[in-house]
Symmetry: C5
């Protein structure tokens, strides 16, 4: 999994119909000490993450193991919100 | 998923026969603030994306969850067109 | 697989319920000669790795082959602790 | 998928027996404007690509969807030869 | 697949029991012209590769298609030794 910070939501009116109702968030990955230089990915959010929160993102076929994403054309999902303050 | 911008289409006369009829687009990925430096990938388009449009691309085995791509040797597909103006 | 060093644990109170009870560790990957510049990932630990230990990490769908992670939305796991001293 | 240019073939006398008879090509990926700086990968060729040709490469489990590669330990295959001249 | 050179073996006494008896090799990937700058990965060796040899490495779920690695939590394997001299 990767750590990241939710920076925005993203909307797509014209999309594959199997994606209807999903909430897509832009996440800046935290892979080094300079958080601002991280790459951007888009992950489906099923747990109610908000902009600014630090999150745990799962990628690849594993993202489809979330019940809501079973058999969907999706390759990244937010699976947890990191406890900040108690944990860097 | 990744954000990207469709920059061109690509044609292949000699290709695996299972790919016949597919529309292949070159997409420049948007992973940082400098859009022009993004990597190029080729994604199958099943939703009618045009050159210049900002799109959502799914990769890996998840791309094959689109009905048109089931069991095809394809690893990237455009699954949505991003609403620009209302969303950067 | 990739080599890495466990640098921290990470806590998530709000997470997908299928992840309850898992131990998530932040691992700095060792992909070059400068260990301090490695990327950070989060891997599930099922073998009792401690902070500071050098570990072997498996990624992708292969991580779900560990019995404890079967069908879980997880894409990285610590599968071994490297013998240091006898091996670089 | 990724674009690349076939730069060489590669031979392996001692290899896993399931790979017998396959044609392995070294492909320099074209992911940016400077074609000469692309990464090298090895892809199985099932369509008769020659050295110097621009090709479409599929990666990951999707490569195994080609009938010749079903259940083989292979993660990249050339699936098309790009029409150059008519298309950059 | 990727080209690489075997640079060392790696030992892990405390590891997942499904990995018992496997031979893990550190491989420096050859993705550009400067071989010394390649990334390090760990691949299972089932064909008897020695340190210093140039090898072909398969990654992801495809590595598990080798009979010895079926259903194992492993994501990279050496599948061939490159013929050097006759081929760079």
């Amino acid at each position: 999994m990767l750590l990241g910070r939710v920076v925005d939501s993203v909307w797509s009116t014209r999309k594959d119909e199997t994606l209807t109702g999903m909430k897509f968030m832009i996440v800046r990955l935290i892979e080094g000490s300079d958080e601002s230089s991280g790459s951007l990915i888009v992950a489906v959010d099923t747990i109610g993450a908000g902009i600014g929160e630090k999150v745990l993102v799962v990628g690849g076929s594993s993202a489809r193991l979330l019940p809501e994403l079973m058999n969907k054309p999706v390759d990244a999902a937010i699976v947890g919100i990191i406890d900040e303050g108690t944990n860097e």
